[in-house]
């Protein structure tokens, strides 16, 4: 594999993975934030 092709693959793999994992965080993070806030509120009341 030439160096050019190698770096091409590295770039697209990085960019794709960054996009997909960011999407995952955006979606799954909402539920986690809700849970975190619920825990904070219940602790504040307690």
């Amino acid at each position: 594999m030439s160096a050019q092709l190698f770096w091409h693959v590295v770039f697209w793999a990085s960019f794709s993975a960054f996009t997909l994992v960011s999407l995952l965080i955006a979606v799954k993070g909402v539920a986690e934030i809700r849970l975190f806030l619920r825990e904070l509120r219940s602790r504040d009341r307690g």
Binding site: F11, S14, F18, S22, K28, L40, D44
Partner: protein, 548 residues
């Protein structure tokens, strides 16, 4: 020059207000120092990952990574691969982070007191406070220039924008600490990731991958593809990066605080595993923007007539031209005008073996590399997308300031001022002290960024200031966790040798290269720990006894 308009300001302003609202929303939930510094250890996987990554991505990250890509081409990507491998390895093995999480500490130097002595904690705390503050101190300096180019604002007004950003970060960090950070970092991450993806697609649309490859071939004098043979990189640089990133992933306070804040050590490890992929993008994506800028401005460069005459006379003529016009061209974004002149000067200097002209060309190229990417974005992004890009950049910037304010203030308050007072402080006083340090650090950063000039590439300055304490901190922590014979004398010697060697890079007359200083500091830190521990076994608590 830039299509930045009211719509863009509105988009960026709304994003900033959303962040401030999120940060202040949870302010009432901070009751104790543990809430303030480690969010009551309630951080989950996805929010934790967003928090870690958004803290470690600022405008400055985009700026220096793009500069690195502009100067070193695709060879720069090797640092992204190193980051990925190290982060994945730390996440998979739990190396250092699991044991520190189980120790129940809130700052990294706190472990050093438990394992060695309170003096070691103070030494580490002072070095971290100095190195961390100096590291953070140039962020506004570089970011202000970036924002001035992107928005077209007068640099004097950008200073006020930077002051506003610092104030926003200060307000919610001082009030809500890590609890506010987790919430705001999630919002900020979503904004900055969206902007990153959009800007990348815009760069590729404006230049194309083949144009980028051709630009690296034509404009980097045969460099740009092989990091092993690159004179500025090479095996020494790669080795140093491996060590530095191992330290950054394990004992860099702002990163370590995320593993301390995790629900449990398994969650902490999973955060690092997921982060590895994002850290690869954190390096490679903006580096590609830098390469795209090289291609963009090379393609638009006017063909200047080749000068004739002796090469020495040509160099003198180029120096005179650059001395007269370089600054105004760079400030006007006329990169395509000055880049060919600098390249020609560099070529002639190489052919004649003139070190002075080579250094001059190199310095100018570094400066072009710092501004080429934002100038390209200002040209290629239309109204609306510029606002989205700015929103992403501001989110990145504010999250970094907030994360670092909290991290370094925690160290200053808990590991320097607190122990130096010589008496046990109650939780309320320690919380007050940390908040005061957040305020003091913000003022220092604002002042330092106004008075300091960065020597050489920002990437190297940032890594050397970090290395001031990274090598000895990791060495003493690893030895403390995994080597029963590690002693107090070894820890002191490790800090003395490791920090001293890093300082050598900052003294120009010593002419110590950045990678040499970096690697030496690692070698001497380890040597100091081994020699000190063997020669003076002294009292130190064995690793098994240092638990929460």
């Amino acid at each position: 020059m830039t299509a930045f308009g009211p719509l863009d300001w509105t988009i960026a302003g709304i994003a900033l207000l959303l962040t401030l609202f999120a940060g202040l929303y949870v302010r009432r939930s901070v009751g104790s120092l543990e809430d303030y510094l480690v969010a009551h250890r309630g951080m989950g996987l996805y929010v934790g990952t967003a928090s870690l990554v958004s803290t470690e991505i600022g405008i400055i990250t985009y700026a220096y990574q793009a500069q690195f890509g502009f100067l070193a081409g695709f060879s720069a990507f090797v640092t992204g691969l190193i980051t990925f491998v190290v982060c994945l390895a730390v996440g998979s093995s739990g190396f250092v982070i699991s044991r520190l999480r189980e120790a129940g500490i809130m700052t990294v130097p706190e472990y050093l007191e438990r394992r060695y002595a309170s003096g070691v904690r103070i030494v580490a705390g002072v070095l971290m406070a100095v190195g961390g503050s100096l590291n953070l101190g140039i962020f506004p300096l570089i970011e202000a220039r970036f924002l001035a180019i992107l928005t077209g604002l007068d640099p004097r007004h950008v200073t006020w924008v930077m002051a506003g950003l610092l104030a926003v970060a200060l307000v919610y960090t001082a009030v809500g600490g890590m609890v506010s950070l987790l919430l705001t970092n999630y919002v900020q991450y979503v904004i900055l990731a969206t902007a990153t993806v959009v800007v990348t697609l815009a760069c590729l649309r404006a230049t194309s991958w083949s144009a980028m490859t051709a630009a690296v071939h034509e404009h980097l004098d045969g460099r740009g593809f092989d990091p092993l043979t690159d004179p500025d990189l090479g095996i020494g640089f790669i080795l140093w990066q491996l060590l530095l990133w191992t330290a950054l992933m394990t004992v860099w306070q702002s990163v370590a605080m995320r593993s301390f804040s995790a629900r449990d050590s398994a969650t902490g490890r999973r955060v690092f595993t997921l982060t590895s992929v994002l850290f690869l993008g954190r390096a490679v994506i903006p580096m590609a923007w830098g390469i795209a800028a090289l291609a963009f401005f090379s393609a638009g460069a006017p063909r200047a007539p080749e000068p004739t005459g002796e090469r020495a006379a040509q160099m003198q003529e180029l120096e005179a031209t650059l001395g007269r016009d370089f600054r105004s061209h760079v400030d006007a974004g006329e990169i395509g005008v000055v880049l060919p002149q600098v390249e020609r000067l560099s070529r002639l200097a190489r052919e004649t073996g003139s070190e002075a002209h080579a250094a001059s060309a190199r310095e100018r190229r570094e400066e072009i590399g710092m501004v080429a990417m934002p100038w390209m974005l200002a040209r290629i992004l239309p109204t609306g997308l510029l606002g989205l890009a700015l929103a992403g950049l501001l989110a990145a910037s504010v999250s970094t300031y907030a994360g670092y304010f909290l991290a370094w203030s925690a160290v200053i308050a808990q590991d320097v001022v607190g122990p130096a007072l010589g008496r046990e402080l109650d939780g309320r006083t320690r919380l007050w002290l940390t908040r005061t340090c957040v305020f003091g650090l913000t003022v220092f950063i604002a002042v330092w960024s106004l008075v300091y000039q960065v020597p050489g590439p920002a990437y190297f300055y940032l890594q050397v200031t970090a290395n001031l304490f990274m090598a000895p901190t990791l060495v003493t922590i690893v030895a403390g966790l995994y080597w029963g014979r590690a002693s107090r004398a070894g820890a002191y010697l490790s800090f003395a040798l490791g920090a001293g060697t890093s300082l050598a890079y900052l003294i120009p007359s010593l002419q110590v290269g950045v990678a040499t200083a970096g690697n030496l500091s690692w070698g001497l830190s380890a040597l100091g720990m081994i020699a000190g521990s063997l020669l003076s076994p002294g009292p130190a608590r064995p690793p098994s006894e240092v638990r929460a």
